[in-house]
Symmetry: C2
Subunit: 334 residues, 2 copies
């Protein structure tokens, strides 16, 4: 096993789109556990759109990553050294380990995972933050009722693909929006959406009229921009918009939905949602998601890229180029 | 009494700002009541920002006023002829009578008012749609709790001035936003707001920091635009935005709040609200508002302009020029 801890650190805040100059790859010695600590060998990194927002200075739902800091990232790995009574060498764990080969931890917000129940990457996907985001965002904030229409943007992404599946489980009509014919077909044929719209090659407003003829009761938004505007124009009476993300806005000057007063026309609400607020209810969410996985009602979809820590910057850009279906994960290997 | 029914009809839809060419003043014979109908002499017209939105074609919360139609307006008046068993000559009534001297009605959505309890104009103000909008919008949608900060834009308007007073009655801190030093002082000294901000002559974001140091728990928005953006940047955790109007947007190309993702940062919601949905609960609202008026806890503020039906177009423009404090009413006189 290597004794080098390769790390990806933030070198400079991006103006709009990320470039190589925002990052620096450094090598440090493998860390040593102090009393009460353990060292994790990071095996898989969760690649998330929210990462882009963590790079901006200013008020947000978590503090920004500081210049010179190791990039924040969720990951799964295994314990390779321990002076902590609760964690032993060989334990599989998930946590916010950062974009690096080795992480040292005192156990705060680290969970053991059972790779006999599901492969490790699933703990970053359906049994991780993506699944929980879909679960609590859709059910608690969106509150869909059987027979209602649930629309989700970024539908081919990690959260979106699970939102659609949970909507179906709950007896709703699931309509997805994604970019490209391949994703559109994947959503309908593989993931089980009732309908999907390729926003790049279709008239979004016209297709929404076709696939949500009675209006949209719940809109789960990961994208913002023109997609949000199209959804606002199609809201059913009393509709709920779940604001989960705004990927279209992260690398650009943000733009508000010019037709936001459709919220008044439709007597609708738009509510911001951050999964971390549900930390106390994670066990409930995980248990339900695991049940659905076991019964086959829910499927976890991952796109696993293989590379080392230095591959992180390019892998992150895949998200913003729309080059992923399902959860994007970087497998660091040995 | 005149036998001429002067009417203001919509001649052409406005592009952005209203001009004289949008209207035509016509004269018709005074209408005659058929069996089951009565004729109202309109004494006072309610002049409302929402009128501007009724002039646009397309989907909204009420159908648009059609070209050639008498302009829609709430009013109070008295019955001058009746072949209706429920209404007698001399009855004082409120209803959607339109911008005209005489209205004929079958009683639908017409209410008798008691001018011994309060002067007729108050039934267009605190005991009318403005009071009800403030009451249900603030309490049902905004759900303020004692000690919380309630911010309202268009605070010197008919709805805003009542929102601030109800907030105070409910034990909240009331902060108003209005245009001009005169209105600012009026809100604090006459209406009883805890603080008011003159957005025309102050740095709105800085003042909000001063007057809402712990953030805004409820923002009651009548204005939209830059005012909404400033409020979004100042939301407390779990804040509720009540979308009641967007006067800044009505005469211009609409613009969305570019920082709407602050809803996510603050875990806040923005909910559209239309008073007509509360029709069944109007008696509850009116009873409570009347109690507060009687006890002196609530005051109704009207700005009554005197003129004939032909004065309507200019009177409406006063709203968009910010030339009113309290409820703007056109008294048609005899």
């Amino acid at each position: 096993m290597t004794t080098v801890n390769t790390q990806c650190r933030l070198a400079a805040r991006p103006a709009e789109m990320l470039t190589a100059s925002n990052w620096t790859i450094v090598e440090e010695p493998k860390p040593i556990a102090a009393e009460g600590q353990f060292v994790v060998h990071v095996d898989y990194l969760s690649i998330d759109p929210a990462m882009r927002t963590w790079l901006n200075a200013g008020r947000s739902y978590v503090p920004p990553v500081e210049i010179g800091e190791v990039m924040r990232a969720l990951g799964v790995g295994h314990v390779v050294e321990s002076r902590h009574p609760g964690f032993a060498v060989g334990d599989d764990v998930s946590g916010i380990f950062g974009v690096q080969r080795f992480a040292v931890s005192d156990g705060t917000e680290v969970n053991k995972i059972d790779t006999a129940l599901a492969p490790a990457p699933v703990y970053l996907s359906a049994l991780g933050i993506s699944g929980l985001t879909a679960y609590f965002g859709l059910l608690d904030v969106g509150r869909p009722e059987p027979g209602q229409t649930v629309l989700v943007s970024g539908a081919a992404g990690s959260v979106g693909s699970i939102v659609g599946q949970i909507a179906r489980i709950k007896g709703c009509r699931a309509v997805g929006i994604a970019g490209g014919e391949e994703k559109r077909r994947w959503l309908v044929e593989e993931v089980g959406f009732d309908a999907a719209i390729d926003y790049k090659n279709a008239d979004l407003r016209k297709e929404l009229k076709t696939y949500a003829p009675d209006g949209v009761d719940v809109y789960f938004d990961n994208i913002g921009g023109a997609t949000l505007e199209a959804a606002l124009n199609r809201l059913a009476h009393g509709a709920r918009i779940v604001l989960c993300g705004a990927v279209s806005q992260y690398n650009d000057t943000p733009r508000g939905p010019s037709n936001y007063m459709q919220l008044l026309v439709a007597r609708a609400s738009m509510t911001g949602f951050v999964i971390f607020d549900y930390a106390k209810r994670y066990p409930e969410g995980i248990a339900q998601l695991a049940n659905w996985l076991n019964s086959g009602e829910l499927q976890s979809h991952e796109q696993i890229e293989h590379g080392d820590v230095g591959a992180f910057p390019d892998t992150l850009l895949k998200l913003f180029r729309g080059e992923n279906t399902g959860k994007l994960i970087l497998a660091l290997g040995e």
